[in-house]
């Protein structure tokens, strides 16, 4: 007996077989004259300098962490959405409280500046004083 997920499996299997056949067929008919120059990394015609695995912005990790939290909440929200009509007012209140807590977490992230992509501006207190002094002198 072929179940519905069995059909998906056959579908995916056929798709993968198709891709494999195309890649294998291409391998048979295309030329292969690899030289040292061809296998170099593209960097605007210059020789590549340093490691290709460069340091990148720490913000990417912060975004990944926020995603992890909120995506779990999506998973928790789906069963609530599916059985919402059965529970009436009780379900409504439960959902609103859940979303409220979610919103609070969101507001916290926002206030902390974790949703800001550009680095938040930090003005040290000494700098402020000097600027005030200069303003006084100027005025």
């Amino acid at each position: 007996m072929l179940t519905e997920f069995g059909k998906i499996f056959v579908f995916v299997l056929l798709a993968v077989v198709f891709v494999a056949i195309v890649i294998f067929f291409a391998k048979l008919i295309r030329p292969s004259r690899i030289t040292h120059e061809k296998t170099k990394i593209y960097e605007c015609g210059e020789d590549a300098k340093g490691s290709p695995w460069v340091k990148f912005n720490i913000r990417f990790y912060v975004v990944a962490l926020i995603f992890l939290i909120f995506d779990v909440e999506v998973v928790l929200l789906f069963p609530w959405a599916l059985s919402y009509k059965e529970y009436g007012t009780y379900g409504f209140l439960a959902g609103i409280i859940f979303l409220l807590i979610l919103g609070l977490g969101m507001a916290y992230e926002w206030r902390k500046g974790d949703l800001e992509w550009a680095r938040p501006k930090i003005t040290p207190p000494e700098l402020k004083n000097t600027s005030n002094k200069t303003e006084k002198i100027n005025s």
């Binding site: 007996m1 056959v10 579908f11 198709f18 960097e43 460069v54 929200l77 919402y84």
Partner: protein
Amino acid sequence: MNITEIIVVSLIKIVLVIVMILVAVIFLVYFERRISAWIQYRIGPNRVGWKGILQTTADVMKLLLKEDIVPSASNKTLHTLAPIIALFVAFSTYAVIPFGPDVTIFGYQVKLMVADVNIGVLYVLALTSLGVYGITFAGYSSGSKYSLLGGIRSSAQMISYEVSMGFSVAGVLLLSESLNPQKIVLAQSGWMWNAILQPIGFITFVVSAFAETNRLPFDLPEAEPELVGGYHTEYSSMKFAGFFLAEYANMIIASAMITTLYLGGWQIPYIDKLGLGVTLTTLLQVGAFFLKVIFLLFFFIWVRWSIPRFRYDQLMSLGWKVMFPLSIINIIWVACLIMIFNL
């Protein structure tokens, strides 16, 4: 139906859908180029075949015959695996999209979808989030700075918009009470389309779909002026074609999902009151589904030539500060709607 018949019918449907995807992708690439030319007041491809209709086929043949260059600094296994993951994800999501109502052909009850699973929407969401791996692997394994930056940007973008996409879908589930795509379509009978009942959710879903498919105005992963080709800078030959085909296949699946979830799928409002025959009604409904998808595809291309690319910080703040709160407001809106009107 006995088992052999079920297997034969399923196989026919599977082969038909796969052929349909390939033909659709080939024509979509051609139409994108023609429409781009039309919008920009150019001529566009018009030499290969009648009005240039065989242009994409010729391009695929060219890519088949091209030398496959793998950079010596790359991770070979991941480099080969990345386009295969991208294609696999793009193809497998088609299995649960309903093209029309159940029909009876030669005495057999046939469902116009490959597999009628009860968690269809969850299946599509899960597989599309796997698509991040293809792009991240491509960026990481190429051993090029441009590829790495493109891959990381892309994964951050896709996960940011996936959250608001998930929350928008929850609004649809509130009304349909099912994860089955066919039941979601049936819940939108008449003018009860989700796009009309929950316009905020519709907008957030469409914007997230644009971001998930890496289309303009969200094509930061391959922003040509700054990142050369983004994650596929070091790809050539059939592997490049794999990413290319996957991108267009993703566009079609995004349009089909928007149609199914928000635009009533294959439904035409009040068609049963016209008193047409069963066969004609079914044909019209299947036609309506494809017309809606084609319109959305045109919309994708239209937007590409109308709106300039976002800056990266604008993209992230749009995703987290606008789309995400809006999708939560949408859930509360739908919940209130059901409480007040007892839908």
